[in-house]
């Protein structure tokens, strides 16, 4: 893969964004990280509507979704993605502080690819994000369909 696709980070907390970016930076992840601040924005970006109507319609390599966000929560974004033919195959990782089982169960029902509880320990957090970046943006071959669309 000559061209690295973007990583979409949907997160409402500025501090979490800073920490996540610091962690991604620590790993020196080559991908460009697009940050959106709520679920509605995330959906606009993904569906190339609203503020993102003019962007090149390339699906991100991976979507890091926070669960609790204003306007539209992470599960809702996930549900819409899974209902969309183009976005169905995009890997989604839910990144959240929640350890609530029902979130996890609901997330897996909706077809989440990974579920990472943000550890309180920063090092753990960095490890988790590192693993995610490594797995989805570098090592993991996106499904053939999405690769062709990306081309």
């Amino acid at each position: 893969m000559s061209e690295l696709k973007r990583v979409l980070l949907a997160e409402d907390s500025a501090k979490d964004i800073e920490l996540t970016l610091a962690a991604l930076d620590e790993y020196r992840l080559a991908n460009e990280v697009v940050v959106v601040r709520d679920g509605a924005q995330a959906w606009e970006y993904l569906s190339c509507t609203g503020a993102y109507a003019d962007r090149t319609p390339v699906s991100p390599a991976v979507v890091l979704l926070d669960l609790k966000m204003p306007k539209m929560d992470g599960l809702e974004v996930l549900k819409r993605m899974r209902g969309d033919a183009t976005l169905r195959a995009v890997p989604v990782v839910i990144l959240t502080s929640s350890r609530e089982e029902r979130d996890i169960i609901e997330g897996y029902k909706l077809g989440v690819n990974a579920y990472v509880v943000k550890p309180v320990g920063f090092d753990d957090f960095v490890d988790a994000v590192k693993n995610l970046g490594l797995f989805w943006a570098v090592l993991n071959q996106p499904p053939p369909g999405s690769a062709r669309r990306a081309a």
């Binding site: 501090k15 920490l19 610091a22 350890r99 309180v120 320990g121 920063f122």
Partner: protein, 490 residues
């Protein structure tokens, strides 16, 4: 209906038996009385005849003229029931007899006073023949009892006919009269049947008389009324209760949802700032690594530790709250296998001291496998933790089956505790040691107690400072799988 037929039949049978018996007794008495009086009449009539004959025979005897006597006796031929007559002189010799030449079968004693005797089929009268106070001999008269037989037969026939007629009339009467008893009983039985079959308490039996049966019917109806009333009240009460239970359940469900929302928000919102504190403390340390002296590093370490500790506390508290709400599964749990598994996990961690284990046979119980695992994990890790200061830590795990429960105990030879604080052991965040002595948040035993209580068991502990501690938990015996025998832990 069958029951009513039976009581009708019983009533008729009773009445018929009674009346027939009475009629038969009366008939028998009448027949008996008639026989007795008719025999007396016969005797009297024959005696009278004998007296007349005796009087007519005095001359023949006095003048010893047998022909005369025979003629006198022969006058009796007009009565066919007189079978034999004879005259004896004063010496007891047969003087004359009729029919001529016939002699009485019995030997005749001389009679000085009139006497009569009934034989099996004859009546014999002896009459003294007396003239002017002078006894001349004895007259013998023998009559058969044909008349008596005839009369008796006729009388019995009449009595039997009368009895039969009376019985017929009695049957008609009984059949008619039993209705007065059987009909109300039948009505009562029918009402009772409908009540017991259809549970219809609005049924009433119709009162047909104001005797005891009427009273019974009235009482039955009153009872049905009372039952109907009570039934209605009970139904009302049930409805009320159901409504109240529904309302209370809704309330509880709302509360539970609220509680869940609360713990959900605690899980999300309390943890986020902690993560930030920790994260930025780490970033800060990286950022000013070169300018940081030991004290600065020490302070930053405290910040991170505290944030991590608080995160742990929140996690523990959430787990504790989940333990209370989570639905419990129930399956067979092999405690021996569970302990072996937990020990294996411990042995894999080489940082611990070698521990001398005494694992006795443990039963298979019924319960939530994950929860029971947590119970044993907590107790075993506590035992390991608090015996870690000993030269040779020893841990004993054993089970004992008492009357209706299985008691499992985990004992160690560690630091123990003062029994004065035993009641605090199972409280949330209750600790008997400083964090510097032994790590922990104080939630483990609270979880143990909650889980065991949800399984219907009890928890308690015994210990002595520096003499080790023993933690017990019981599970009800019906929670124990019967099909399995205790097995030695590996």
């Amino acid at each position: 209906m069958k029951r009513a037929t039976t009581i009708r039949r019983k009533l008729i049978t009773a009445m018929m038996l009674t009346s027939t018996t009475v009629l038969l007794i009366i008939g028998a008495v009448l027949v008996l009385y008639d026989v007795v009086s008719f025999r007396r009449e016969l005797a009297t009539a024959l005696t009278t005849r004998a007296q007349i004959l005796a009087a007519n025979s005095t001359a023949a005897l006095a003048f010893e003229n047998p022909d005369d006597a025979r003629q006198t006796l022969g006058a009796l031929k007009s009565d066919p029931s007189l079978v034999l007559s004879a005259l004896y002189d004063r010496d007891g010799r047969l003087f004359a007899s009729y029919p001529d030449g016939a002699t009485p079968r019995a030997s005749i004693a001389s009679a000085h006073v009139p006497e009569f005797t009934f034989g099996p089929s004859r009546l014999v009268v002896l009459q003294p023949v007396i003239q002017d106070g002078r006894w001349l001999g004895t007259l013998y008269l023998e009559s058969d009892l044909r008349a008596l037989d005839t009369r008796l037969r006729l009388f019995v026939l009449v009595v039997l006919l009368a009895v039969a007629g009376s019985v017929a009339v009695a049957f008609a009467l009984a059949n008619w009269l039993q209705n007065g008893i059987a009909r109300p009983v039948r009505a009562l039985a029918e009402a009772a049947r409908r009540v017991s079959q259809d549970k219809d308490y609005s049924v009433r039996a119709q009162a047909m008389s104001d005797d005891e049966l009427g009273l019974l019917t009235g009482a039955f109806n009153d009872m049905l009324g009372a039952i109907q009333e009570r039934d209605a009240a009970l139904g009302q009460l049930n409805t009320d209760l159901e409504r109240r239970v529904k309302a209370r359940t809704a309330e509880l469900e709302a509360l539970n949802r609220e509680l869940e929302a609360f713990s959900y928000s605690v899980s999300h919102d309390l943890r986020a700032p902690l993560r930030h504190i920790n994260g930025f403390a780490a970033l800060l340390r990286d950022h000013i690594e070169q300018h940081l002296d030991d004290k600065g590093r020490h302070y930053l370490g405290h910040i991170s530790d505290s944030a991590r500790k608080m995160g742990q506390l929140i996690d523990d508290l959430l787990m504790f709250s989940r333990m209370g709400r989570q639905t419990m599964g129930s399956s067979e749990v092999d405690l021996a296998a569970l302990v072996a598994d937990l020990r294996g996990a411990h042995n894999a961690d080489a940082t611990h001291k070698a521990i001398v284990w005494h694992v006795r046979p443990l039963p298979v119980v019924h319960g939530d496998p994950a929860m029971l695992r947590l119970v044993l994990m907590n107790l075993i890790s506590n035992a390991i933790k608090y015996s870690s200061t000993q030269a040779t830590p020893e841990i004993t795990i054993a089970a004992e089956e008492t009357g209706d429960e299985v008691v499992i105990r985990v004992a160690d030879n560690g630091v123990g505790f003062d029994m004065a604080y035993a009641s605090k052991l199972f409280g949330v965040f209750q600790r008997l040691h400083r964090p510097e002595e032994f790590e922990g948040t104080g939630i483990g035993l609270a979880n143990v107690r909650r889980i065991v209580q949800r399984h219907g068991g009890r928890t308690w502990a015994e210990g002595e400072v520096d003499q080790g501690a023993t933690f017990f938990f019981s599970l009800p015996r019906d929670a124990r799988a019967e099909s399995h025998k205790p097995r030695e832990a590996a």
